[in-house]
Each structure stands twice: as structure tokens, then as C-alpha cells.
Symmetry: C2
């Protein structure tokens, strides 16, 4: 069975119904984040690469149909119309690593309605989670203010897959390494690590442990010094490093207690031993806030190892993301209920130097000097752009970050810029709202859908001349 079964049941039910009704016209779904979580001044786009891999391989095979039949209590024949269905649509998306804001589409999928619907769950899952974690990691890099940050999160992420992503996403925003062996290998990242408290405890003394650890590997070592008494541990580490002629490239790791105060004492012990080039690694419950505190206090920490809180995105473990139908068969659509109103139409985001981003309709001309964020990355179900790795994503991130207002980059109480909406998008939204509301008051059959009016729809209406209510 393929990844096609990694979906919510209703995607299958709806796709079945669409096929039965002959509703296979082109649909555009727009994926965006309604509002940023507190303490976020921006988001870093992520998840696109896994999504494109999924879509390129998407195919409902016979095993999938059997699973669908089994969980819905239908016969396989009932599900036959889904067999061999592939994703043949187009994807326009903001590349991984770019900075985006609330309301800006991260990607838009345009495909025959059943296809665009069936892939919803997987696409939302990947982009939501990965964008959340990438954005958290980015804040750690900002807080570290030039000091290396490494990922130690695998033991507490939500499964192994999430741990792999945390390592990949950290690298995307500039992490210097990861403890995750499989991820380091697969993504070409630096693998980093030290020793556990258990290692020290397994030996008769801390000194025996440090000596054995140094024996076990030829290069520089990092010694964990807080198993029993941190300052005594640093003294022991200093003695061992000196006696073995080590030092440059080596480090001690502090993993508990008042990391700032202990780093000062550790630095003094190391310096007094002539180990000025031996560095200090801090770990243990760190996130961007704790790193910020240490950096602002001038703690002599050289490297920050972040784990649990970053890998699970502890303060904002999900995004208020949506994958919303914005156009079907040439007709812009929207949802009206409660606070979750969505803007209709295929969109583009224009980044304007020195100005707020502009969310516009996809066929609008870019304002002077503006750069469109959404790029065609998939056409007819095939990648239209080469796979890009962490290095390219990091370049994009670095460039976008530099262009953000300082208040958006703040670790504490950041202020997220707001995108503006183009006049045509505002006008189309008002028109579609009026049209949709009119249909409820019984005037619907006299109203003309905005897509049928020249110059207001997100693209020309498919039918010539005035038309009645949509299908």
C-alpha cells in the first residue's frame, strides 16, 4: 500500500463523490497560515521538498483501493474509479527557506478536483509541521547571535520521522550540526555528539571515563562534566586534557544547573589550566529564550545544543494553517462562516523592497521592483524545478532574514509584519462574498458570479458572455 492511504477518510469519500458527479474541473487550493503564533515575527517555509516527492509519486494502487474498501465497508468495485489515479496537477510554491507571513500562501495546488482534494492531508501535515519547526530553529539561530547551534532533539521528537525533519530544518536555517546519525547521513550534515551521564557512571571514576573517551577517538573530544559536581568535573576534564596534550577543538559540556554561572566558573578553570582554546558547550532544556538569556548575560558559552523544546516546537507545536479551495472550474470561491473567512482566487505574493508584502491575484503584474514568492515547482505532476538542498534553502533564509525589520527578528516580543492585499483581491473578495451571500437570501439565481465579470475574476471566466449561477 502506498502513501495514498496516509490520508483522512473524508478525502477519499469526497474524491469518490466528485468522480461520480463528474466534477473533475481544475481546482486551486491555497495553503496559508491564518495567524502567527505568539512570539513569532515571521515563518520559514518548509515541507515543500517532501510534498513534491509525495506528489510526484502519488498513485492509488490496488492495495490502496483494497484498504479504502476495507475501512469504508465498500466493495473494491465501488472504488474502481480511484484506481491508478495519479497527481497530474501544478504546484506553485514559496521555496523552502524563504520567510513568509500570516495570510501569505506557502503553496497553491491546481489540479482536477479529486486529485487536489486527495492530497490535502499529507500536504498540510508536512508543510504545517515543518514550517513550525523551521521557524523555531530560526529563532534559536537569531538568539545565539553568531554562536553555533546544534540539534540534539531526536530522543523527544514526535517519532523518528519528526526527528529527521528537525535535523534537516535546523540545517536549513544555519544549525552547525545534529546528533541524529541517519539524518546527518541522509542530508549531508555534520554529526555531533559527546557522551551521556551513563558513560561517566559506568566507569569507576569520572577521570577514568574521560581518559577512556579520549582513547576511543583520535580527534578532539567533548567531555560531559556535570554527572556529579560540575566544577570538580571541569577540573578533572582540564587535568585529563592537559595530560593528554589535548585542548584546541576540545570542549566541556554543561547540561544542568545554572548554565550561565557554571559557564563562568568552567571558563575560569579552563583558562587557569592554560586551556583557553577548549570550548564550552551548553545543553539541557535550551530554546531560543534560554539561549537569548545566556547570550545577553555574556555567558562564555561557545556552542548551544538545543533539543526537546525546539524539536517539538514546545511553545507553538502547531500552526493555524489551512488548505482552502479558492477556485473551482474558473470560479473563485470562499468560506464565510465565523472568523475563518478565506479570500478567493489563485494568488501571488509580491515582496517589495522597503514595503510590506503584497498578496495579489496570480495574474496581477508585479509592482515595480517586487519579486514574486510563489514559483512554478510542479507541472502536470512532474517537478518543474530541481530538488534543492539545505544549503540553497539556507541562502534564501539568510537573504530574507536580512530584509526583515529588526522587530520581526526579535527573540522576545517580536512584531510580525503584515502583508497588504491588492485592490483587485479586495474587490474580488467583496464580490464573491456578496454573490455567495445573495445565494442564501434567495437572490442567488439573479446574481452573476464575479468570475463572469470582466476584470474581476482571478482569471478569465471559461464561458463566454454572462452566465447564470455556477454549476
Amino acid at each position: 500500500m502506498s502513501k495514498a492511504t496516509s490520508t483522512d477518510l473524508y478525502e477519499v469519500t469526497m474524491a469518490q463523490s466528485y468522480l461520480r458527479e463528474g466534477m473533475t474541473g481544475p481546482a486551486t487550493f491555497s495553503l496559508f497560515v491564518r495567524e502567527l503564533p505568539p512570539d513569532r515575527g515571521f515563518l520559514v517555509c518548509a515541507g515543500l521538498e517532501p510534498v513534491l516527492a509525495y506528489l510526484a509519486d502519488y498513485r492509488v494502487d490496488a492495495d490502496d483501493v483494497a484498504v479504502f474498501a476495507s475501512v469504508t465497508g465498500q466493495r473494491r468495485e465501488d472504488l474502481a474509479p480511484l484506481l491508478d489515479l495519479e497527481f497530474e496537477g501544478e504546484v506553485r510554491a514559496v521555496p523552502e527557506g524563504r520567510v513568509v507571513l500570516a495570510g501569505e500562501p506557502l503553496l497553491e495546488v491546481t489540479a482536477p478536483l479529486p486529485q487536489a482534494q486527495l492530497v490535502e492531508t499529507y500536504v498540510l501535515n508536512q508543510v504545517s509541521h515543518q514550517t513550525a519547526v523551521a521557524s523555531k530553529c530560526a529563532r534559536c539561530v537569531l538568539a545565539a547571535d553568531g554562536h553555533p547551534v546544534v540539534d540534539f532533539s531526536l530522543r523527544r521528537t514526535h517519532g523518528i520521522e519528526a526527528g529527521h525533519q528537525a535535523a534537516r530544518l535546523g540545517a536549513m536555517v544555519g544549525f552547525a550540526g545534529t546528533s541524529n546519525v541517519a539524518a546527518a547521513h541522509a542530508e549531508g550534515l555534520a554529526a555531533v555528539g559527546t557522551m551521556a551521564h551513563s558513560y561517566v557512571e559506568a566507569f569507576g571514576t569520572e577521570e577514568d571515563a574521560f581518559r577512556a573517551f579520549a582513547r576511543s577517538r583520535p580527534g578532539p573530544v567533548t567531555l560531559l562534566v556535570d554527572t556529579y559536581d560540575t566544577v570538580a568535573g571541569v577540573e578533572t576534564a582540564a587535568r585529563v586534557l592537559r595530560e593528554l596534550g589535548l585542548g584546541p577543538g576540545c570542549a566541556v559540556r554543561l547540561d544542568s544547573g545554572d548554565l550561565g554561572a557554571l559557564a563562568v566558573r568552567a571558563r575560569a578553570v579552563l583558562d587557569a589550566a592554560g586551556l583557553r582554546e577548549t570550548r564550552i558547550v551548553a545543553s539541557g532544556g535550551l530554546d531560543e529564550f534560554a539561549v537569548d538569556d545566556l547570550v545577553r548575560a555574556g555567558a562564555p558559552v561557545d556552542t548551544f545544543a538545543v533539543g526537546t523544546r525546539v524539536g517539538v516546537c514546545a511553545d507553538a507545536p502547531y500552526l493555524d494553517s489551512a488548505y482552502k479551495l479558492v477556485e473551482y472550474d474558473g470560479r473563485p470561491v470562499m468560506k464565510l462562516s465565523s472568523a475563518k473567512v478565506t479570500a478567493p482566487g489563485r494568488k501571488q505574493v509580491f515582496r517589495r523592497p522597503g514595503q510590506a508584502d503584497l498578496i495579489a491575484l496570480a495574474d496581477e503584474r508585479p509592482p515595480p521592483g517586487a519579486v514574486p514568492l510563489l514559483e512554478a515547482v510542479m507541472r502536470e505532476g512532474r517537478r518543474a524545478s530541481p530538488r534543492t538542498g539545505s544549503a540553497e534553502a539556507q541562502k534564501r533564509f539568510t537573504a530574507d532574514l536580512a530584509a526583515l525589520p529588526p522587530r520581526a527578528r526579535a527573540v522576545r516580543a517580536p512584531v510580525a509584519p503584515r502583508a497588504e492585499l491588492s485592490p483587485r483581491l479586495v474587490s474580488l473578495t467583496a464580490d464573491v462574498r456578496r454573490y455567495t451571500e445573495a445565494r442564501f437570501t434567495g437572490d442567488g439565481h439573479r446574481s452573476v458570479h464575479p468570475a463572469a465579470r470582466p476584470g474581476t475574476g482571478s482569471r478569465p471566466a471559461r464561458r463566454e458572455g454572462p452566465v447564470g449561477p455556477c454549476p
Copy 2:
């Protein structure tokens, strides 16, 4: 490459060193949660089944060695001692579904030191995440007070693997179904689902959408009524259901707005239409707190669909879990630094009717009427107990839940019971602490390890007669 590479680098480094030093004596690691998160009165054990599957298959193959060599910059020959290493140890664990408290071991691994160390990352990852999510799901079931709860979380979990677990763990504590097709199929759960707002929008009118949806499947349907105007949506749904002769088994779903008030209005509309057997499903940002509010307010909601906040365990997305060495080669060990002191020795937890749980040493006799929570589930690397499914886990959960004090089961401001420590465990902890501290003040060589004193160690010392300091 096998799952052996899904690990932190330091596990590999330490295992290499242990093998080099000939330190392959039996080690016991204990996995426990130091403190419960706020708003938790208990934890539900989970993650054991995936852990046992992992351990039973654990084997470092040639590809793994190549990966280890690649990420550490060593030659494959340097890593040869790890090749073909399997897990040959024993696991004693609390079965999935049972209730545990702070400080109680969820599992203990006893194996040759390199093996017990190498599996740390994966074991911690699975148990920490799954116990967190199972505990969150359990609170939803408590809040729903007898109403069915279903899982809609897949679109926002931290990856697909985490989504699968959310579905499995929900079922373990009594969820009535999941939207996750693959998980429903693999775990034998009821697959549930309705329609999306996009479905309604894709049709010309809400009524067209409802009719098409009813056409698409033979049985009862659930209609999403809040795409445009909720009350009007319920009226339309009622009309369609009546005209099609449907009703019993059918439902309307409310996904936004003031769910309590809208449920009252929806109930009134349905009742007025003679659809007293048509139910109301509520969804949209629900967690145990929101469900509790609705239930306490007497909202006429029949089924609660929980998603994002539950699947990512939003208020406590990680546990303060630890996998700590408690004994090596017959010698109980402990960590002393800062607040993270660990109790030494192999342990057992005794559940005593009407009394607090007792955390004791593994070889202590159970108090009268007490039941030991940790069971031998793996011996010599093979399962010693059959795989148990969600149904058995749910039975254990239901029984344990009933035995908890009411304040532990409270959704708001729960009070978690605290386990007591046996006098022998307290005494051993004090002895090992004294012994370990003495080694730092230079008295170590005159001190005798507690394991060598009769009646205090967690099991008889391996050597006859008095011994000197450990290895």
C-alpha cells in the same frame, strides 16, 4: 540501512568505547518521567509495543556500519566491533494502557552495556512521545463523559508516523474512531469522516453538495453545516435528510463559532424537523478543556472530534523523561548533579489497593495485596509476552483509571498522586550517594560500594566477600 542509525551519534561513540574497554557487563537503564506536566493527574503508558518490535529486530548491519563510519570520519574497520551487534537483553516494562505516575519506571532495559546504550535514543523517543499523547487522549475521554471521541489529527501531527500513533493511542484509551485511513486499517479501528468546506464550495449550492454527498454513499451521512451560515446550513441539512428519508445514524458537523450555542440551535432545528435521531458532531480546535466546557454547559453535542491540539499534545508536547543508568555490572549507580538526582538500582513498582504506589527495588517482596506493574516482556532479545493490541491496552487503562482518586481524573487542576519509595530503596540511594560523594573527596578508596554489603544492593553482589571500589 536499518533503524540502528536512527540514533544520537553519542550512543555509537559510547558503544565503541565500551567495546574497546571490554565494558560489556550487564547494565540496567530505567526509563521514567521525573515530573508530570501541569494539568496531568496521571500518565498512560505507551510506546512499549513499537519499542519491542525495534529491539527484537535490532541488528547493526554492514550498511549501518558504513553510515557510522561516514558520519564520524572513521574507517569501516574501526567500527567492525559493532557489526552484527544485536539486542540480546531483557526488558521489564509496564504494559501499554496502564496508568503510571512521576518517578515510576515505565520500563527497564538490562543488557550488555553497549547494547543497552545503543538503543537509548529510539526507546526514549517512542515512549516519551506516545505516553504524552496517550495521556492527552485519555483526558479527552474523561472530559467527554461518555460521549464518543474521535481522532481528526493527522493533518497537523508532527509527520505521518506521529499521526499514526495518535490514532493508535486514541483507540487505546477509548476513542471511537479515527479519520486516519492507514492507521484505521493497520490497527483495526473504525474509520470516520465527513466532508470538508471545500466540498460544499465546489458545488453551486450547499443543498446540491448535501444531496450529492448522500448519493455517493449508501448509509448514514454526516453533513458539514458551517461553510456559509451555520443555522441556515442545519436547516438545509434537515430538509435534505428528510426528503431523502434519512435521519437515524446521520449527523451534522459544527466546525467553527460558538459550538455550544450553535449546538443548541442546531438541535432545535433538527428536532423541529422531526430529526430527533440525527446527531451533532463538534470539531474545530477541540481539546479536553474545550470538550469539558461543552459537556459541563450541557451542550447537545453527541460526538467530539478532536484534532490538532490533541495530536500534538499542545499544552505539554514533551515529557520530562529520562533513560538513566541505575546499575552496571552488579553496582547500583546514580547521577548527583543539580536537581536531576536519580535513584540507583533495578526497580519495581507495586500498586497497592487504597494506598499510594510503592517504588521498590526489583528483588523486594510485594506488599500484601499489591500488584507489580513491571512485567518481563523481553528475554534474551526475544519477546516474552505476546503482542497486545489496543483492546487489551484499553482494558488495562479502564481498570487503572477506575482505581485512581477522583482528583487525579479531574480535567481542570488535577492532582497527581505521588508514589512512595520503599525503605530499602531510600537506604540504597543514601548509601550510593555517600559512596559516590566519598570518591570525590578522596575517601573513595576506603569506601565499600553498597552493592558489596549484604541486603542493601539491588541484588547480591557478584563477587564473594568484601570488595574494593568498583572497577
